[in-house]
């Protein structure tokens, strides 16, 4: 690999941080400590990590209902994320949003999204803004295989192609939309085949290979920054957890899941790094320990934070919190 050790360990560390955060979130949810419902990014860490390694702070992303990994990879504060999952005043959205609505405008995260494909039109708009401002920032729009069947996908891809906007459409094909397999609902073998319909480059890659993701997104980001317009990338992966924590997953066999566990991206990358002598046992332990204590601290922060005052529910709708017509 032509990359230096620091860079590669950085990718590894980001994936580990995501995994650690998600495993903790799962545990907390099962303990009944988190309200609402959460969708885990476990097994898909390579995509956010490889993609975001190409971005600057001023670049934008739009995320999904399965957004924790995107946030962390883009540089979000794990404490504020955890506090939001708890519904606390110190969370990203002051408790108003929860898992599915975390945003951090200060680092270009234009929101997770509870609506499937809801982020794609937003990404197109951010792309328009960048072009009008004559900047060379880019937008990555994350979306699932299920999302690729919504009209918003089509409208956004055509729009960004027509106006040559700097938007990378990064499809996370984890083989399932809730209970439905991608083949049942999606008419193409590869979601990237749809790029032809917008006259833009389309490519499918192994989404569990963080380097493949990094390099493919790199090329797309470079094209976008230099005015070459959008790219559609399909990162093929597998959702090894349920759709949400608590999903009975009656729609697949455990054996199928077990097979895919063997391919999960962190172990795979770790084995590579170790075999190439780029990750010692000690370094590995340090990375996992650091992640663990960071997440534990986030939990402490969240648990010791207050709930928002009930009346604060009446703020944040408008800039002038005039309380119209309450």
């Amino acid at each position: 690999m032509e990359y230096d050790k620091e860079f590669l360990q950085g990718l590894y560390a980001t994936m580990v941080r995501i995994r650690t955060f998600e495993s903790k979130a799962e545990e907390l949810f099962l303990q009944g400590k988190l309200p609402g419902f959460i969708h885990l990014y476990i097994g898909e860490e390579a995509i956010a990590t490889g993609a975001m390694a190409n971005l600057r702070k001023s670049d934008y992303i739009t995320s999904t209902h399965r957004g924790h990994g995107h946030m962390i990879a883009k540089g979000a504060d794990i404490k504020k994320m955890m506090a939001e999952l708890y519904g606390k005043e110190t969370g990203y959205c002051r408790g108003k949003g929860g898992s599915m609505h975390i945003a951090d405008l200060s680092i270009g995260v234009l929101g997770a999204n509870g609506e499937v494909a809801g982020g794609l039109p937003i990404a197109a708009g951010a792309g328009m803004a960048i072009k009008l401002q004559k900047k060379d920032d880019v937008v990555i729009a994350f979306f699932g295989d299920g999302a690729s069947n919504r009209g918003a996908f089509h409208e956004a891809l055509n729009w960004c192609s027509v106006f040559k906007l700097p938007v990378i459409f990064l499809n996370e094909n984890n083989q399932f939309a809730s209970t439905e397999r991608v083949q049942e609902t999606t008419s193409v073998a590869n979601i990237s085949d749809r790029a032809v319909g917008y006259n833009i480059p389309g490519v499918s890659i192994d989404g569990n290979d963080v380097i493949a993701v990094y390099e493919t997104v790199k090329a797309a980001v470079e094209r976008a920054r230099s005015g070459g317009g959008p790219t559609l990338i399909e990162a093929k992966t597998y959702r090894i957890k349920g759709h949400f924590v608590g999903d009975p997953t009656l729609y697949r066999e455990k054996s199928e899941v077990d097979e895919h566990w063997a391919q999960e991206p962190i172990g795979r990358f770790e084995r590579e790094l170790v075999s190439m002598g780029l990750l010692s046992e000690e370094e590995k332990k340090k990375i996992w320990d650091a992640a663990k204590s960071e997440v534990e601290e986030a939990v402490k922060f969240a648990e010791s934070s207050p709930y928002p005052a009930p009346e604060s529910a009446l703020t944040d709708l408008f800039v002038d919190d005039a309380g119209y017509d309450y």
């Binding site: 309200p35 609402g36 419902f37 939001e84 519904g87 606390k88 959205c93 408790g95 108003k96 949003g97 929860g98 599915m100 609505h101 999204n113 509870g114 609506e115 499937v116 494909a117 809801g118 299920g146 999302a147 069947n149 919504r150 009209g151 939309a177 809730s178 209970t179 439905e180 049942e184 609902t185 999606t186 009975p248 009656l250 729609y251 709930y307 928002p308 005052a309 009930p310 009346e311 604060s312 529910a313 009446l314 944040d316 709708l317 119209y324 017509d325 309450y326």
Partner: protein, 325 residues
């Protein structure tokens, strides 16, 4: 009488009518394999081969195709998954389904049903918690049913499955697990007939869905303070039963309208308008309403509790309208 859940009641209605009428089929996201995300279709699992269909996440076609299938002689039952995602395919409803019969001069019978969950659950937050039935009462062209009990669910839904006009059914998420008596014998509940869920003489509370139960709880509490509340469950909003409401107000002289949706321009305002017009001289106090504050449903439990109304808000409103004695 045997007791079954709200969601079982829906399942029975579907099962009975699908057995009777081969043109009924149902489709939507995630309905075929686990019986729907709230289990409403569990009783259909493995039955009715080919007539319970999982679809792509394509709401405009989910709704719009219901119109096409109805025009071609079928009785589609399309699930909207979450009321919030009615907006995702809204044009197929508001510009197509709701207008088709009228603008073609009555050429078609649009026997189609849209159904699914609405309302809050435990911290589902802003994009999975909406109650937007008012919009379907405002725009003409669809009948709106909003059942509150297993009995009503089954009876109203069976009527929906025989309706020659489009019907939309809102099932509150917090009600799916609710148990209640449902007779073994077949029955249908006509649209436009309110059900007086509790008789009373001091104040009328007009309500639907989850707020029926909150209102009944409030009524029980208020009784201890000597206040007698009549709880009128409209059950259907298009059409709604003016007669029962107006007669109740003529008896009690006081009205509270209670719903979960936003207060501002919620359907409570329409009920209030008609009542003040039709029973002006009978009103002894201004009409009050109970509803959500005009913000979105927040995630954090104390915030959600603050925004969304419950029995305490009904009690307060009832006392308010009595304050004017």
């Amino acid at each position: 009488m045997r007791e079954i859940t709200f969601s079982e009641a829906l399942g029975e209605a579907m099962y009975e009518e699908m057995s009777r009428d081969p043109t009924i089929f149902t489709y939507g996201e995630d309905i075929a394999k686990q019986g729907g995300i709230f289990g409403a279709y569990k009783s259909l699992l493995g039955k009715f081969q080919g007539r319970v269909i999982d679809t792509p996440i394509s709401e405009e076609v989910i709704f719009g195709s219901a119109l096409g299938a109805a025009l071609a002689g079928m009785r589609p039952v399309a699930e909207f998954h979450f009321a919030d995602f009615l907006f995702t395919g809204m044009t197929a409803i508001a510009n197509q389904i709701m207008k088709f019969r009228y603008m073609t001069g009555g050429q078609a019978k649009l026997h189609l049903v849209l159904r699914g969950p609405d309302g809050i659950s435990k911290s589902a937050a802003a994009q999975h918690s909406e109650s937007i039935e008012t919009i379907f009462m405002h725009i003409p062209g669809i009948k709106v049913i909003v059942p509150s009990t297993p009995y009503d669910m089954k009876g109203l839904f069976k009527t929906a499955l025989k309706s020659e006009d489009p019907v939309i059914c809102f099932e509150h998420k917090m009600l799916y697990g609710l148990k209640g008596p449902v007779p073994d014998e077949e029955y249908y509940i006509p649209f436009g007939k309110a059900d007086v869920k509790r008789e009373g003489k001091d104040v009328t509370v007009v309500t639907t869905s989850r707020m029926v139960h909150e209102s009944l709880k409030a009524a029980a509490n208020l009784e201890k303070e000597g206040i007698s509340v009549e709880v009128v469950d409209l059950r259907t909003l298009v059409p709604w039963d003016r007669e029962t409401v107006i007669n109740s107000v003529k008896k009690t002289h006081r009205l509270v309208v209670a719903h979960e949706t936003w207060k501002r321009s919620g359907w409570s305002s329409e009920i209030a308008f008609i009542v003040q017009r039709e029973a002006f001289d009978y009103l002894d106090a201004p009409i009050e309403k109970v509803g959500a504050y005009n913000v979105h449903i927040p995630f954090s439990p104390p915030l959600q509790d603050f925004v969304v109304p419950d029995y305490k808000d009904v009690e307060k409103a009832v006392k308010n309208v009595l304050g004017g004695i």
